[in-house]
Symmetry: D2
Subunit: 341 residues, 4 copies
Amino acid sequence: MPMSTSYDKKKRILLDPAGRRMREIFSEEDIASLRAWFDVVWAKDEPIPLESFEREKQSLFAVVGCGWRFGAVDGMPALRAILDVGGGLPRPDTLDYETCFKRHIRVLTCAPAFGPMVAEMALAMALDCAREVSLGDRLFRSGEERYLHAGNTDTFTLFGRRVGFVGYGGLAQTLQPLLEPFRCPITVYDPWLTERHLRNAGVAPSSLDEVMSESDVIFVLAIPTSHNKAMVTRRHLEMIRPGRVFVLMSRAHVVDFDALTDLVLGGRFKAAVDVFPEEPLAKDHPIRRAESAVLSAHRAGAVKDDLRLIGRMVTDDLDAMNRGLPPHRMQNAEPELVFRL
Amino acid sequence: MPMSTSYDKKKRILLDPAGRRMREIFSEEDIASLRAWFDVVWAKDEPIPLESFEREKQSLFAVVGCGWRFGAVDGMPALRAILDVGGGLPRPDTLDYETCFKRHIRVLTCAPAFGPMVAEMALAMALDCAREVSLGDRLFRSGEERYLHAGNTDTFTLFGRRVGFVGYGGLAQTLQPLLEPFRCPITVYDPWLTERHLRNAGVAPSSLDEVMSESDVIFVLAIPTSHNKAMVTRRHLEMIRPGRVFVLMSRAHVVDFDALTDLVLGGRFKAAVDVFPEEPLAKDHPIRRAESAVLSAHRAGAVKDDLRLIGRMVTDDLDAMNRGLPPHRMQNAEPELVFRL
Amino acid sequence: MPMSTSYDKKKRILLDPAGRRMREIFSEEDIASLRAWFDVVWAKDEPIPLESFEREKQSLFAVVGCGWRFGAVDGMPALRAILDVGGGLPRPDTLDYETCFKRHIRVLTCAPAFGPMVAEMALAMALDCAREVSLGDRLFRSGEERYLHAGNTDTFTLFGRRVGFVGYGGLAQTLQPLLEPFRCPITVYDPWLTERHLRNAGVAPSSLDEVMSESDVIFVLAIPTSHNKAMVTRRHLEMIRPGRVFVLMSRAHVVDFDALTDLVLGGRFKAAVDVFPEEPLAKDHPIRRAESAVLSAHRAGAVKDDLRLIGRMVTDDLDAMNRGLPPHRMQNAEPELVFRL
Amino acid sequence: MPMSTSYDKKKRILLDPAGRRMREIFSEEDIASLRAWFDVVWAKDEPIPLESFEREKQSLFAVVGCGWRFGAVDGMPALRAILDVGGGLPRPDTLDYETCFKRHIRVLTCAPAFGPMVAEMALAMALDCAREVSLGDRLFRSGEERYLHAGNTDTFTLFGRRVGFVGYGGLAQTLQPLLEPFRCPITVYDPWLTERHLRNAGVAPSSLDEVMSESDVIFVLAIPTSHNKAMVTRRHLEMIRPGRVFVLMSRAHVVDFDALTDLVLGGRFKAAVDVFPEEPLAKDHPIRRAESAVLSAHRAGAVKDDLRLIGRMVTDDLDAMNRGLPPHRMQNAEPELVFRL
């Protein structure tokens, strides 16, 4: 049911999600709403030809796409919003953010749409490690399963365990409520946030050393930046206590992956890994044989049904902006952070 | 730190947990508290010899054990409580409940101590099935992993999904808050509870047919009784919608296991199974080969560290009863239910 | 909609709520359900004549009433439950509890029905004191109101304040979640409960001295017993810090009311009082003039619409017992506590 | 304990909170932190003389004050933030927002600091009306109190009642969790928000007519704008059902106050009022005599101790911006909303 009130003249929006598909991210209902409220341009799976774009650009109120491949925004006087449905933001070398900020053009990312599915997978993989679900299943298939206590010599429950987060951005904040029923005290290392911010959020600020050495379950949730390449070093990984759980969810970039592989192969601790330094990972990469690892092929943020959340956010925020209100579901590109990426 | 006030004469209690071990269920602190408050008899891992029991029985205030092998309670005038640390209750053919009720002898079970670890495993296995964690890990180990969307053709997240419970006893009530962050509407089949009881608990009462046919994730949590043998029939299992998740946690007794095996082998739905009709399961049982199953060797309720919760409950309730108060942590044998078992 | 399955022969129940009225506690729907499931006897507002009772008693399965005025239960072979709708339990000098326990006759009280309304009033009165709502309204009516900061010289908000409970029974446990959004640490004095029980419930066990001297808001919630007459002495009341809030909800019996009157008149602290040593209170009682008090005429537990909750509990528990299940909404008379009253 | 890392050269900030006092909003700890991280200018209760400001302005990184009285920001090349501690934002006729946005100068309001204390007062006054706390206290003081049910002929509890919000901004969002334990369905009228935004927030979007006619408790929480003067008309007020509760918290501007006065004097419904069309209100204003009203002299947002939250927010956000991060506690002036005010 369309919610925006009608206007004398509909604004024009470009739907050019190339990289994703229309039907993958938009429900019937969302498309119908957008068509009711706006004059919709393109709306196909393949990328709009640049010459077509040039014909339309002057009248466009908003552009929905993956990244930005249209050059300067100068010839787009009506433009009020760029909505990125890829998962990140247009790179600063492709989009002129300075002009966008000056002209109050909103640049928005659908990144928050991935939070729930990735956070759920983080929990699933942490539980899998702590309770040895995959390992137990593997043993069962080979007829070597051990029953009751014999099958629980190295397991633990999450209840009341010390959890450590490396990074406290959107993903961490989405994971936190999933852990709430387990009443785990959460310690956080995030150099971009103040201590009081973290305390107000109900977590304990800490150093990376402490997070690594004191936690029962460590979640790596930090967004990759130019500053945090291999921030979690071999020394840090060696601090993890025996039998504890290390969950790598955000990017392999953040961790010394060779060290991680060595230590998990050596049985020092358990690890759940969804992201790898190269994907696909080499067929002979040794981590594939690690008994105390649970491996996932970058599958956490790609659940089919849930991608429709992207379209719902886009639709809601276009509705708001059409009424002259600020968007409220997608994430705003903040000047401080864009210029730092 | 002992909490009970001192008494002129300490009451005597028998600690005879044979079947479990003293150190497995009691922390140092709990043992110290019990010794401070009571005159403790036996407290060894092996069963107390019956002749020793006969010498002590007249003065015993409470007996802590697994089941009941001491015959009539008539010669035990001081007896006020029987605390079962095995997980169930003494069988009615071994213990004279009628006399216990008449004499206000409390019969208590530590069953609630297992709730959190079994509920956690139920969640872990449900997530494992829905997100294909074990399957993805297995494929990764054989070099057949598929990345991103290609690895998510049959997965779904729990958020907002319809959950069905078969049975709404202590285990279900412990699982419910773990599911809360996922905001799943929960439908329940439990013939022992009234509709209003269920509605007051925040779940929707339903028929078994509806639970099976409408749910995205079905948890079997019912305690086995003489009435519910294979209550979940082949017909019920055939109602599960394609690709949905069936989690068997309480007892295989409740389900037609052959039908379950057939259907899961046929790929009709996904299944997580922690309990089997015979344990250990036959090495050639076909369910071991089911691709869409996650198998666990009755490991949900046997996490080492968490067994200490049993001792904590025993200690707390003995403390309460020593002060003339009702116990509050272990579960009371209710006449209506005991006589029905 | 009746929920109990039909039986060859309906059981008989006596509805004799004299002291309350039928329509006050039972909705149309509840009465209809009871009539559908049971053969209902009497069901009038005035007390059943004893000779009528004598004629019926042999066949009664359950008796719903206020207190017990029918003597021995010996002539009532079918009796399985006594449901008290007055708010307490039959006095031990009127009802032979020993026989009830021996025969597994449930004795139940509707006390939990009053928890929500009394807890809400406790919160309302605490907020009224802390924010000076009634006082501010009184000043406004006399044209003496002071605006903004000038009207807030002695107020405080509840957020994060130290709360103390005297007594941790049903009422306290119902009040606790209402305070949760304010994130107040709660300290409890309750000599009937163990330290661990309290810690498990999320509150901090403490001495009465500490509760009185350290809390910003003190709630007196203890049930009157023969042991706690004026348990909160003048010395305790003098410990309350200046300007803090003392809320008396359960019974005046628990407090030295003369001392309370003196200290509140002297402006030592603020007080909210719903219960008095004699009701109606003497017209010239000095507490009526206390500027820093909020007074309520035992009104917390008597909200008209909410009394229907009593009938709902009675109906639900009769439904359960009719099916041979334990009751689950009303509170069971525990042997330990009954014999102590 | 200062948290910002040291810099070669401290940035300069102006603390000029005139309208508030330094000590009223800043704790010792906050001032110490600001002095450790910044070169602090002025920091006195009286307004900085304009000639002093002129001398300093070129080097200022941030200005903390009430409103804006310094003209153009052109001569302030270092300026990155204006932090308003008054409660609102600088008026658009005093501050050149366009230039601020172009230069990425953050304009921030401490408005969220008032949310908790105003929301608490809204709950307190709603409970006071529904349970007749002030009225009951008034009757008690004049010796006319009525006990138990006689004193509850017109009261109701909040549990499960239909709540209506007029406006769903920061205050409403702070009030919502305080109502959560009462499990009230909440209906909202807010023409600035989309239906889906409201549904996602757990409330039901609705028309103003419906909110007025269907709710048991109505909270007016809308910020005054040029468009909503007397938006709640006499016709709307006449829709309130008899005996229900109307709580006016945000501004009298939003309501036809004469109509409100008439209807409350006529006993049509109950009203709690914290804000008035003129303050102080005329001594002979008839609403002062309304028996079914609870009146408060604009006291909801002026609790002494809680004003320190303003200083805490200012300190946290200056810390963040000093590190090149976005502020996260104060509220950002959004272009869409500023240009609409």
